[in-house]
């Protein structure tokens, strides 16, 4: 299987997993969206010199992983490229900020190194939380959640169609690439002279196909104004999930549980 095939299959897998029957997939998408948003806000609000506080935030992720039966192996595999980018974000901090604040053995630890670590942890956790949201919600339900907070239907339709367009686009890339490589067997990659016409025909063909997909949706009654409004409102289980998750996130963000547990033992 080539890389494009694999990418298309991965997108379909994401949709598939969002349809799996478990507690999290049944929760109202808006509840999950708000909770994920809250988690990311509180995570990013942590002081950049307190990496240990960031680590506590993984408790929420562990809970979601268990409840949603999410495979961490797949998660890391799918997000490895993004993780790499995130890990590079704070790389300049140790160079800019060289104040030595601690020492481990003979290795001096600068405040730049600490802030870099915090940034890395924050970035990775925020991405994992977003991934957990998508994998348990699906793109269509994500759009429903956006509609529930009164984002205009047209905008949401664009998001949904872009998502569908990615698949159409990848399929066209695959076709054009196959056609090219069959007629240029000894070439590595695409000759730069062919790039212009290839990209041009790729755009025209994929847009044409995307137009057909939209026609097909319209012919089967798709109406952006009503499509995202048809789902159910909040029920008891959504409310329980919402309160419980919000409480967990606030507690792990503002209360140092491990320190509290430690203190209890010290006093005894």
């Amino acid at each position: 299987m080539n890389k494009i095939d694999y990418a298309i299959m991965e997108i379909h897998h994401l949709d598939h997993e969002a349809k799996k029957e478990n507690i999290l997939t049944r929760i109202n998408p808006l509840a999950k969206l708000i909770i994920t948003f809250l988690y990311i806000i509180l995570l990013t609000s942590i002081d950049r010199y307190k990496p240990q506080q960031c680590i506590y935030m993984c408790i929420y992720l562990i809970l979601i992983k268990i409840i949603g039966e999410i495979s961490m192996k797949k998660c890391i595999k799918r997000l490895k490229v993004i993780f790499t980018i995130v890990l590079v974000i704070g790389i300049a901090n140790p160079i800019i900020n060289r104040n030595i604040v601690a020492q481990i053995g003979k290795i001096p630890i600068s405040s730049g190194m600490i802030s870099m670590t915090t940034l890395m942890i924050k970035g990775c956790f925020a991405i994992i939380a977003s991934y957990f949201f998508i994998i348990t919600t699906g793109m269509e339900n994500f759009c429903v959640a956006l509609r529930m907070i009164h984002i205009p239907g047209v905008l949401i339709t664009v998001i949904l169609l872009i998502y569908r367009y990615i698949i159409v686009f990848l399929k066209e890339v695959q076709r054009i690439w196959t056609a090219y490589s069959m007629r240029a067997p000894n070439q590595k990659g695409v000759n730069f002279k062919a790039w212009g016409s290839m990209i041009g025909s790729l755009m025209i063909r994929s847009i044409d196909k995307a137009g057909n997909v939209y026609d097909s949706m319209e012919l089967r009654g798709f109406n952006p104004d009503t499509f995202f409004d048809k789902k159910n409102g909040f029920c008891e289980i959504d409310l329980i999930y919402f309160i419980f998750s919000a409480a967990v996130i606030v507690v792990i963000r503002y209360i140092n549980i491990f320190e509290m547990i430690g203190n209890v033992f010290v006093f005894q």
Binding site: L219, R220, F222
Partner: protein, 258 residues
């Protein structure tokens, strides 16, 4: 007036003096008049680029003509009643990849039901029954991406059949189908009730399945009548860029040998 109403009632599709142009200059279709009765199976034939697909798009309201009328099931096709018109017409695309966009077969089949306000459980049940009707219920949870060309075509039919439309339109339905899947498709086509329009270059398919055929050439309807008569008229077909169906040619050859 009463006589006209009577005619309208038995008509599933009536096209009156229809002309269409994409750019406003060169007409793709000109002065098209057609009357299709309920329950008929019509073959729409013609060489490449004569406007068969355009005519189908006009019928379902994907394009609108400036001149002429299209009346489907006593409703004139216009931008105001598209939803109601489209509920009555199923359109099976030439390219199944364009028709199927949901992650699984079952979800794609129930897409239209959910859009037309059916409840989730009811939609699930109707979608399953439709798949069963075509004999592909085993594909229910399959990913669209993993289907073969023939399976995709059958799923495409299921996606439109699920609304139980009065009329189904097929645009080049046997393209890319192997003989076995083509046969399977023909079985399904014959088993479907209601009005059917099949636009195809596969004249053998038209010969075997359609009661009446409409030959389009030079932007207009050249001939309309019983399929067997039109498809055995070598001169008519050749003058309009077509050839006799393969089965007819081999039959003729056999009779010469005999």
């Amino acid at each position: 007036m009463k006589a006209e109403e009577c005619v309208m009632e038995s008509s599933m599709l009536k096209i009156i003096d229809l002309s269409f142009s994409y750019d406003g200059k060169r007409e793709v279709l000109s002065g098209i008049n057609l009357d299709i009765k309920a329950g008929e199976c019509i073959g729409l034939i013609g060489a490449n680029g004569v406007g068969k697909s355009t005519l189908l798009k006009l019928i379902v309201g994907l394009e609108f003509a400036k001149k002429g009328k299209i009346i489907v099931n006593n409703m004139e096709v216009n931008s105001k009643n598209l939803r109601e018109v489209r509920k009555n017409i199923g359109y099976v695309f030439q390219d199944s990849d364009a028709q199927l966009f949901m992650p699984t077969v079952h979800e794609d089949v129930k897409f239209a039901l959910l859009n037309y306000g059916y409840g989730k459980d009811e939609a699930d049940q109707i979608a399953y029954e439709t798949l069963k009707k075509i004999g592909i219920e085993n594909l229910k949870d399959q990913s669209i991406y993993h289907l073969s060309g023939g399976q995709k075509k059958l799923v495409s039919i299921a996606t439109v059949l699920v609304l139980n439309p009065d009329m189904i339109i097929f645009d080049e339905p046997t393209v890319c189908l192997d003989p076995k899947n083509r046969r399977k498709f023909m079985e399904v086509l014959r088993s479907l009730g209601g009005t059917k329009i099949v636009a195809s270059h596969d004249l053998d398919l038209i010969y075997d399945t359609c009661d009446r055929s409409v030959l389009i050439a030079d932007q207009r309807i050249v001939k309309e009548g019983i399929t067997q008569k039109i498809l055995t008229d070598r001169e008519l077909l050749e003058n309009n860029g077509l050839e006799l169906p393969l089965s007819m040619i081999s039959r003729n050859k056999m009779s010469v040998i005999m």
